[in-house]
């Protein structure tokens, strides 16, 4: 059928980097970065929203502190001192609250990254590109992590100005290292939430529920020893508990090598487990929805 003098071409074989190669890794990394950039560009079209979301965590932090101060009638709690070895509740709550935004990263930004594209209507267009869906979700996570970083800095300024904080400056860098280890496990967790959000219509309830449960199961404003023992056991599967113990050790001066060793091993194990679990569930969900054909819906 060579009518109208058309020249037919041989199929092109090389198209883009793929598989386990360095070039492909670089391409996927760039896709993560570009997803992050895209999220910022969209966000800055709503400057008010950006400001609100940056201030928001502070609004939910303040009641914890004010409430604590009212309960004790000062900022030093003997009871807390006997439980964790530090009595300054303002510093304790602030260091705990740092992680809340990052939990938000995994349950909201990652969990709803793909759903958001479905609302935009762009999901199928992204889907037909050779980039991995995981890079898309990680791009969302990167954007959110930077956002949370801005919020934490802002919280720090305000709390420091109003109450003052007793933090060890030299502990900040190692604490960031612990935070990074926690984020790895939370990324795996986020992929899992993202899969749930894709399959279930009421995904926001899952996210809100997981956020609340993680809030309770993490030692944000209290040590886990005050929880019922079953809740203490459950908290061990989430990276937030060991991460907070580790971060506080560095930031509030009761660092011991044994504790840090345990924290480190616990986090590494959780990283590995959550990433493997998250990626597996994510791919299984991907196949499931492509078979069912609900990809572009909602």
């Amino acid at each position: 059928m060579k009518r109208k003098g058309k020249e037919f071409r041989e199929p092109k074989k090389f198209l883009c980097p793929y598989g386990f190669t360095l070039a492909n890794l670089k391409a996927e990394m760039r896709a993560i970065w570009e997803n992050n950039v895209k999220e910022w560009k969209i966000e800055f079209t709503y400057p008010l929203s950006f400001i609100r979301q940056s201030v928001e965590p502070l609004i939910f932090l303040l009641p914890f502190i004010v409430y604590g101060l009212v309960l004790i009638g000062g900022r030093y709690s003997d009871s807390l001192m006997s439980l964790v070895g530090t009595g300054d509740i303002v510093t304790y709550i602030f260091t705990g609250y740092i992680i809340m935004g990052f939990i938000g990263t995994s349950v909201w930004a990652m969990g709803f990254g793909i759903r958001k594209e479905q609302w935009y209507g762009t999901f199928e267009s992204i889907y037909v590109t050779p980039t991995s869906r995981i890079s898309l979700v990680l791009g969302m996570a990167l954007h959110s992590v930077v956002h949370q970083g801005i919020s934490v800095f802002f919280e720090f300024l305000v709390i420091y100005a109003i109450f003052g904080l007793a933090l060890r400056i030299e502990g900040i860098l190692p604490a960031l290292g612990i935070l990074a280890l926690m984020m790895l496990a939370l990324c795996g967790f986020g992929l899992f939430v993202s899969s749930l959000a894709l399959v279930l219509k009421e995904g926001w309830i899952i996210s809100e529920g997981l956020y609340s449960v993680l809030m309770i199961l993490s030692p944000v404003a209290y040590p886990l020893t005050v929880l019922p023992s079953i809740a203490q056991q459950m908290s061990k599967v989430f990276p937030t508990a060991p991460a907070l113990i580790g971060m506080r050790s560095f930031l509030i001066e009761n660092y011991t090598p044994e504790v840090m060793g345990n924290v480190f091993l616990h986090l590494l194990a959780l990283d590995l487990a959550w990433i493997i679990f998250g990626v597996m569930i994510f791919y299984a969900t991907d196949v499931y929805i492509r078979k069912r054909g609900t990809l572009g819906k909602y």
């Binding site: 929203s49 004010v66 409430y67 009212v70 807390l80 509740i89 009421e202 309830i205």
Partner: protein, 282 residues
């Protein structure tokens, strides 16, 4: 006001009624969301209970008693969480339902209908309040059974009255919010900001006296402040209704001002929107 032109008061009541019926039907279609709003407020205040156990090492705080008259902090925050639920549903109920109409494409139609839009909004808000009351009732029962909230027959009616007055005040504020959202696309952010104001500057989690003076002044403009003080006096301090007449009166004053401002602002914004035509900007 628009109602005087073509529609009688009775017709306006009918508008409210049809909105309520429509929204209750929606609610019935999504039982998951109902279960969610009933259960999750408990998750939100549980951390505060554990926090207190860690900080004071028990179920009573002597310092807390100096401010609030009761050392038992658990019922205090349970009541705070239950009443705060009304703020959330009023602000988001009205704001979200406007957005929902905009998404469904029915907003333009609604706004171009001859009925007074403020009444449509009240209908929306009323259905949200009915839902909130259902959540609150369940939560009160749980509070009584699990968290040691005290209740007698005599204080039920005063509490219902206080909640009714709280709802009225919140309607005024929700109307103002809706008015602004006719002109500005980012009403959602505004609803969040209002939520924060309520959360921080009213005694939801802690007594108002623990805040700096300027914050207390700001809190005194919000209906939730008086409702919380009055309900807690009845349920926690076991006072009778005569002891809280001052709070009830102030709540009434705030209601009148908020509703007047709400209607006035909405009417004004609606006219402005009609002339500048920015409704379909959504």
């Amino acid at each position: 006001m628009g109602s005087s032109e073509t529609y009688s008061f009775k017709a306006n009541l009918f508008i409210i009624w049809s909105e309520v019926v429509k929204n209750i039907k929606f609610m019935m279609a999504y039982p998951v969301i109902f279960v969610f709003w009933t259960i999750f407020p408990f998750f939100w205040f549980l951390p505060f209970i554990f926090q207190c156990q860690a900080f004071v090492g028990g179920l009573h705080s002597a310092n807390f008693e100096q401010f609030t008259g009761t050392s038992d902090y658990i019922p205090f925050i349970v009541i705070g969480a239950i009443l705060n639920g009304y703020v959330l549903t009023s602000l988001y109920g009205v704001g979200e339902s406007m957005r929902r109409e905009a998404y469904r494409g029915t907003l333009d139609y609604l706004l171009s209908s001859p009925s007074n839009k403020a009444f449509i909004l009240i209908g929306k808000a009323l259905s949200e309040s009915i839902k909130s009351t259902m959540y609150a009732a369940i939560q009160f029962v749980v509070g009584i059974l699990v968290f040691g909230i005290y209740v007698t027959i005599e204080i039920i009616m005063p509490i219902v009255l206080i909640i009714f007055l709280l709802i009225l005040g919140l309607y005024g504020i929700a109307l103002m919010l809706a008015a602004v959202s006719l002109q500005f696309k980012q009403a959602h952010d505004l609803a969040h900001t209002l939520e924060y104001v309520f959360y921080v500057f009213t005694p939801v989690r802690y007594p108002l006296q623990s805040l700096p003076f300027w914050a207390q002044v700001l809190g005194s403009f919000l209906p939730l402040t008086y409702a919380l003080i009055a309900v807690r006096s009845l349920m926690l301090l076991k006072q009778n209704v005569l002891a809280v007449y001052q709070e009830i009166f102030l709540l009434l004053v705030v209601d009148v001002v908020a509703i007047f401002l709400g209607f006035y602002l909405f009417d004004w914004m609606e006219k402005k929107t009609k002339s500048s035509g920015s409704i379909s900007h959504y």
